[in-house]
Subunit: 361 residues, 2 copies
Amino acid sequence: MTVYNFSAGPAVLPTPVLEQAQSEFTDYKGSGMSVMELSHRSSLFDAIIKDAEKRLRELMSIPDNYHVLFLQGGASLQFSMVPLNLAQNKKALYVNTGSWSKKAIAAAKELGNVEVEVIASSAKDNFTYIPEITPDMIDQDAAYLHITTNNTIVGTAYKSIPNAGNVPIVADMSSNILANDYDVKDFGIIYAGAQKNIGPAGLTVVIIRDDLLGLYEVNEPMLDYKTQAAANSLYNTPPTFAIYIAQLVFKWLQELGGLPEILKQDQEKAQLLYDAIEKSNLFTSPVRPDSRSLTNIPFVTGNAKLDQKFNVEALAAGFENLKGHRSVGGMRASLYNAFPKEGVQALVTFMEKFEKENGGL
Amino acid sequence: MTVYNFSAGPAVLPTPVLEQAQSEFTDYKGSGMSVMELSHRSSLFDAIIKDAEKRLRELMSIPDNYHVLFLQGGASLQFSMVPLNLAQNKKALYVNTGSWSKKAIAAAKELGNVEVEVIASSAKDNFTYIPEITPDMIDQDAAYLHITTNNTIVGTAYKSIPNAGNVPIVADMSSNILANDYDVKDFGIIYAGAQKNIGPAGLTVVIIRDDLLGLYEVNEPMLDYKTQAAANSLYNTPPTFAIYIAQLVFKWLQELGGLPEILKQDQEKAQLLYDAIEKSNLFTSPVRPDSRSLTNIPFVTGNAKLDQKFNVEALAAGFENLKGHRSVGGMRASLYNAFPKEGVQALVTFMEKFEKENGGL
């Protein structure tokens, strides 16, 4: 049985990447060592981390006045690091578009010395859309405006980045980094947990504009962007194997044709599924059409028992991790870059069959 | 050419572990998915993390009133987390036995609200021994006594754990965890970066006595031991693949005979090298005999040019990462659990040959 992995993260990785990593797993480039066994100060690992950064810069057209950091702790640690580094005793603006935004807001509030203002929210409508942000909503004295560009759980995404004037935009891009046409220049900080479009869990990529380094004293060295940037992500031992897998993923993306090509594929995959949902008399998307994510696509029957039946049968048919997040229910297909189009086609066929068998037209 | 990897970390891993991980790298237990692709909420990963914890508890005889946490950020993040969680507006005691102790001390001071007292230090003697700690040196009102049980760079280790009365001992055990006969009950907290005796870089193991959870408000959720313990290390996505490799390493250790057996092997390996150094007229150990580490063994000729010649020739002969730390110079052999005895024998033979060729007896 072919298995299709719709996991929201850690998620499916490109088959050629897994195969290459497997083939050199115990002997990297004839060194007699696994990448996991390389000293992080060795020339072999130095080449890996530098090449990973170079390729990510090329893929995302990251300007020279931005640092690229390979850190640990996931987006959850960024929720604290961002306000610690940028907004002590200042105001920080947040847009609330779901669970992860709420966690970011809560973490900023918990610091106790940040004035947190939520300037827009779609909470009262179950986060089914991205609220409009207009320039007049942005206090130009704020330290930053924080947005969650793609909301993994509810399946919404920003189609364009708000105009915040001179206020830097800080973006949690965990679930749609490398799957969008945003311009890095529109952001002050972009951060992303790797476990969706980049590589294995345990690696966090941070892209930060140089003028945002060192604005405040941060009392924990590991949480200080300036310290991490000065050490080129080697302040302490980084997650070396995860960085190596990320390098292979970046190389795979470049050989495929870079972001324009993968974005085209992502759009085709998403369209296939959204079209099937629109056509269906059983399944609906809870998300407003203008806010729909390319990477995370929830759908429901409106009947919890039927959703459960679908999930049980889908799992038995090789569709892994389709069950919606426990906070939402229903189904959710995460179609990250490495997810194959055949898997979407197979899902659509399965949905049509299920609909026929369960009282659909 | 056989390659022997003397890296201080990330370090050599057991060959059977690497081979098993390689064999199931693209298809874990017939799931059709790599371990890296498993959701951290899946039953397959749940079994991995629970089994890893169970095996570590068995190996180290960890009592039930201790939590085992699988975190990120390395020992360097623990340097801040320990005082944040245990000593806000209190006194914390430190023993200074080298670079890593100094970093731990500096991080505690940087918080600004911890009264840091260094109760003993071997700094004036280049950290060549572990200072004696007697009960009268311990202020019983202190929040904890911090020690670095093994000093990777200078090659010293505590042969026994000091008696600190009722003051909890917090130990950075990064470089000799699972390679000692300490008793977990003698510690309040043990922490260790995985990249020496546990698994790949990017995983940090913390063993914490339950009464030390939740003593203070910690304003960064990811840095709060209580939050991490309450979530069983799943507060956010953990470094899943690194935890899986750790599980395999723990299993390998248990099948070998557990800590008594590996400690016997470690002692034999270390003795081989220390004996060769003692016998030599060229090489000396800078470390006082009563403080010598089993896992990290520095040696020098006393002549920087000759050290360099040795390092060049050793590298050409397949001895990787023997060069001493940049802060110490000379040579350093890190003989972690997975390092094979044949590698030590080969090194000793190489040292004898080098000595003959370079004016030795």
